[in-house]
Amino acid sequence: MEDYVIEMLHITKEFPGIIANDDITLQLKRGEIHALLGENGAGKSTLMSVLFGLYTPEKGVIKKDGKEVKINNPNDATDLGIGMVHQHFMLVDIFSVLDNIILGSEPSKFGFLTKAEARKKVLDLSNKYNLKVDPDAKIEDITVGMQQRVEILKMLYRDNDILIFDEPTAVLTPQEIDELMKIMKDLAAEGKSILFITHKLNEIMEVADRCSILRKGKYIGTVDVANTTKEELSSMMVGRNVKFAVDKTEAQPKDEVLKVENVCVKSKLHSNDSVHNVSFNVRAGEIVCIAGIDGNGQTEFVGALTGLDDIASGKITLCGEDITKKSIRYKNTHGMSHIPEDRHKHGLVLDYTLEENMILQRYFEPAFNKHGIIKKNEMRKYSERLTEAFDVRSGQGAKTIVRSMSGGNQQKAIVAREMDRNHELLIAVQPTRGLDVGAIEYIHKEIVKERDAGKAILLVSLELDEVMNLSDRILVMYEGEIVGEVDPKKTTLQELGLYMSGAKRDDRKEAK
């Protein structure tokens, strides 16, 4: 008999119109790191939500230490020592770190919070596992990486020993990922059992002991990571072989499309500039990437470039035209496409249908608008053409409310929209965040296609693999400044890391 702490046997969970989990069996050994792999929408989050008591499955049993248990709500799960770091963090923005950690298991006397006690416990835990947090900081003021540490502390605070991590690394920087891997290993070494969801095979290869694979709601199998390869895992996951290296030829840069000169952006949080004197250019037919650790001004820079945020000083030229002071609408219609970082916040009107979202920046164009009336038929045709071309899958076709689509398909819809618009410059910010390898492969291919079609591409990514694989030139941003420019073919991850951490910088003369 194996020593399983948790066994999920023949779990079936249906949502109206979809079977998210179809007879899935998952067994977690004590002290192991068990990876869960699957495409977007394969049912991983759902399975974990079942384990955590957020959903009740239609069929199947869950056993803890061989005994059958009923998990009807997160309280039950907590009582069984199950904790979960959710894919979308479950943190209250305006609460302090400490409040978030203790929420739901607050130490109290006569109903009054006794925070001193809690603070001590949290600080002890944070020291022990090297999870640095400031207990008094507000969640909305701290970085995503820090927020994740808070989520982990939440589990540890509750003395959980079965830890679920749902895509914890999707939002982390490489350094943070390394840290997390180490923490996970430490936790496992202490005897805690970990379920780990990720789309990144490297991570699985690095930390996981075993890996279970789901595809389209079905259980495919479980493998020992030591005896497998990335290729095998990915083909189990998508049912075919996936190429990891991006297929691309040497770039053939032509005319300058985007020219950025001395752009500065005022910070909303402190008195320094969040973007300082940034200058560079992007030519047609090349992919220029801004790399850097999250929070070094990339978001602010893109905001200034696209017009979402105010620019303090500097000049932006697009195809020879000064667009510094132009409106977003003007930029949109004069050659700029933008795949935004946050697809829910900016990229989509979640309550609009797919077709309505497809014309978000174009509804006023003559193609879709006659005397102020929207041409619904054109809209439908256009949307159907795009979704077909880019393989965007949705329940009710063009009429699907976007909110109900999976993240991967939502992203594909945005990519389709932005690529199809008339543009010279494509700004792609984290275009593959949270997507499965199949989808990533697809989007990378599309981006390269764009490049080869003679478009200028500005890629902003935190993902080092993506940066190295996709770009023709890499600019590294550190504390709001471009500190170096490297050629991906000549550099190493180590060198890139040095730039990104501020340990190394070029003394760039005013670039060309």
């Binding site: 957020l54 997160p74 907590t78 963090f89 943190l91 305006i94 739901g104 919070l113």
Partner: protein, 314 residues
Amino acid sequence: MLLLIQYTLIFSAVLILVALGGMFSERSGIINLGLEGIMVFGAMAGAMVMVLLPADASRFTIIVLTLLASAVAGMLSSLLIAVACINFKADQTLIGTALNMLATASATVIIKGFNTARSGGTDFSAKLDYVRGHNAFMFSIGKLQLSWFIVVAAVLLVVAIVFFYKTKLALRIRSCGEHPQAADSVGINVYAMRYIGVLMSGFLGGLGGIIYICAANSTWHFDYGVAGAGFLALAVMIFGQWKPERIAWSAVLFALFRSLSNVYMGIGFLHALPISGTVYNMFPYIVSLIVLAFTSQNSRAPKAEGIPYDKGAR
């Protein structure tokens, strides 16, 4: 001057309580536009108790029972919001508005029935006289006429502040107004918290109602509702940015201006100014708009307010 203080105090008491009520409800995630209606129900129950208590009831009995009745009636009426908005995911705006209409209409019908029955068919007005009950609340310090209502409001304010910042329950309620999914994921019963928030608004709103109709009167015509006091409290709540201590001083500010519009004629130099009384009436609103213009840049309502919580497919 004395009158100004007196009226400011009593109006503050009303606004503080009702706005705090609104705050707890919204902090739990339920927008409470029905404060006006809750006030009417609270006022009605309190006034009925004052009318019905025997002539020899002690002052203490009158005070306690009146407050109790108002609070309970407020809570019962707030259940109408809770059930619809929490269990049935009704639109909170609509339910609030409906409750306001419902309150005035049913108070009119109920009081008419009550009076008719009590008088044997000679009095069928929607009006209650509660002079004796009202007097029980009054006391004075020197020449300053005060009422126990003010004391009650002050105590409740302190309690609310302590509760809001120091207790486990308040932390949980607040989390439900910001991120109910997060609350749920740590085992907090979002529905229960929202019920508590709404019931607290009923409790405080009901008390605010009885204080409002007793502020300067010992007769109330229930067919006129509470003439917008609930909406004013809502404004105070937003003005106070959903925080109890800020609500307190916003309420005082509002009450001050409102009292000023009522008693400015007694203050020589103000009356001498060539300003129409109506202008004074407008004053609190204009001033607060201006203040709001400067302070609202970072103001933020509880993030999840107004959105019914659905646990997913459970």
